[in-house]
């Protein structure tokens, strides 16, 4: 079963004792990046890693505005509540395993080397219908 672990720039509940990244020390920042790399490498090792991508904070809402007209964009996301920072897709055997891994990822070290405890959103993929249903 595939799950999406979503990381938010904004829109997730504020974690306890949050310190913005640019206020960590360079050493703390390096430890954080290393943890993230090691985490992905470990899931590749267990055969559970599918994909991981990061998104830029800039973007726009876009919608169709009728035949022959250019699409409407509302510019940068400034006013919106939710801002996705990136994701990891994992392929695991159970919801419990997905939650366990998200919990481990949320323990990435931050200021003072303590776990950042950021909220991650875990969403199951809708799968293809099973061949045998009864």
């Amino acid at each position: 079963m595939k799950y999406l672990l979503l990381k938010h720039y904004r829109g997730a509940p504020e974690p306890p004792d949050w310190v913005p990244m640019d206020q960590w020390t360079p050493g703390e920042f390096d430890a954080h990046v290393k943890f993230m790399n090691d985490f992905a490498a470990r899931l590749e090792g267990t055969g559970e890693f599918v994909d991981g991508q990061a998104l830029a904070p800039d973007g726009a809402w876009v919608r169709y505005d009728g035949e022959g007209r250019p699409p409407v964009t509302d510019g940068p996301f400034a006013e919106t509540k939710d801002l996705i920072a990136g994701w990891m897709v994992i392929d695991v055997d159970s919801w419990d395993r997905a939650v366990q891994l998200a919990g481990e990822l949320s323990a990435a070290p931050g200021a003072g080397g303590k776990p950042i405890r950021e909220w991650l959103e875990v969403r199951p993929f809708l799968a293809a219908p099973a061949t045998v249903t009864e």
Binding site: D22, Q23, E28, F29, D30, K34, N37, A54
Partner: protein
């Protein structure tokens, strides 16, 4: 026989098929199939004459496909089974393939994919893996590109500038997966520089060699970016640097300066400095002036020139050189942050580094800039 040697034969083999009367799109498909076959069978059973083997297998594939198509349409097959090769030398075919695959009607991503397949001899699977897209997507991109240029004769001279642009894009993609695109771009540019006497082709080759020479020192543990000034210069590849400088000098001696030669000259000046402190920033600034003239005042060049001017004449000179550069230009905030820090304005520099991180175009750059913000904030404590 290793892969690059096999791949070198690909454009010549396609040229043979086209001269025998095959259209480019079908010839290229047939050669791709022969190539995949070669990759499967040659390790256990290498042919005596690899090129003849590829021509024979590709031609058979082409005939099979043409017959299948003819019978599908209920028509007679008009292609001669074994015509004699024409008088055109193979080198010309290869050069014309470069032009065709980078034809200005093709969008850059298609030109890149087609060049890598038809000139570079990479398989669709390898190209897809290198660009992190599904193989079916890459196959579609390539066949759409071929439809777009169908009917254009292979004999037409093309636009060298678009060819160089395509190779430059491939080089900048670096490497992911099992294909080293930077090395492949160098191989293709090296081959091109032999086929054409245009000094800009040599200029681009020199630029690639000089940048490639620094590759090992450009990233630290965990893929961390290491800026030029902090790179361990003992890890620079002196053989590549020597080759790059030689190629560049020969190009400059032709006295037809272009953007790639000027960029290579700047890279050569960096390569020439034993330490960051020994860099000849005055001369580098002059080369940026030259580049500004060649590009008609490119904003990106103006931004890079400001960095050089800041090193040559101090941070205030750099900040003055930034005057008139659009702050929304990628990396402009990062450059401003750097110059502000050197000017002693740490508070503002930290904020600018953090802002630059938010607008970074790559994760490695974002991480580097966030770390710079953290470093400067620590100096403030």
């Amino acid at each position: 026989m290793n892969d690059p040697l096999l791949r070198e034969l690909v454009p010549a083999v396609t040229g043979v098929l086209v001269r025998r009367g095959a259209d480019f799109a079908s010839a290229e498909d047939a050669v791709q199939e022969a190539l995949i076959r070669a990759l499967e069978t040659w390790p256990g059973d290498p042919p005596r004459d690899p090129k003849a083997w590829l021509v024979a297998v590709a031609w058979r594939r082409f005939l099979d496909a043409a017959r299948a198509e003819a019978s599908r349409r209920g028509r007679e097959l008009a292609v001669d089974a074994e015509p004699a090769p024409g008088p055109v030398p193979a080198a010309d075919d290869t050069l014309r393939l470069y032009f065709l695959c980078a034809h200005p009607v093709l969008p850059p991503s298609s030109a890149v994919a087609l060049t890598l397949r038809a000139v570079g001899g990479l398989t669709t699977r390898q190209i897809a893996a290198a660009y992190l897209v599904p193989e079916a997507t890459m196959a579609q991109r390539i066949s759409r590109a071929k439809r777009r240029i169908a009917g254009l004769p292979l004999s037409q001279p093309g636009d060298l500038a678009t060819v160089l642009r395509v190779l430059y894009l491939v080089f900048n993609e670096g490497y992911s997966g099992d294909v080293d695109l930077a090395a492949e771009a160098i191989r293709l540019t090296r081959q091109l520089a032999v086929l054409t006497s245009e000094p800009e082709a040599a200029g681009l080759l020199a630029l690639m060699l000089l940048h490639h020479a620094r590759r090992a020192s450009r990233t630290g543990p965990g893929g961390r970016l290491v800026p030029l000034a902090a790179q361990d210069r003992s890890r620079w590849d002196t053989v590549l640097i020597a080759e790059g400088v030689t190629v560049l000098q020969a190009a400059l001696a032709r006295d037809r300066l272009g953007e790639y030669q000027a960029q290579a000259a700047i890279a050569a000046l960096h390569a020439d400095a034993r330490s960051a402190a020994e860099t000849d920033w005055v001369q580098i600034t002059e080369w940026y002036d030259e580049l500004l003239r060649l590009t008609g005042g490119s904003p990106v060049v103006r931004l890079n020139r400001a960095v050089a001017a800041g090193e040559a004449g101090g941070p205030q000179a750099g900040l003055a050189a930034l005057d008139g550069v659009d702050p929304a230009l990628p990396r402009c905030t990062a450059v401003t942050a750097y110059l502000r820090e050197r000017a002693g304005d740490l508070e503002q520099a930290a904020g600018l580094y953090a802002a630059a991180a938010r607008s970074a175009a790559s994760a490695a750059e974002r991480d580097h800039l966030t770390r710079e913000a953290a470093r400067v904030r620590q100096l403030l404590r």
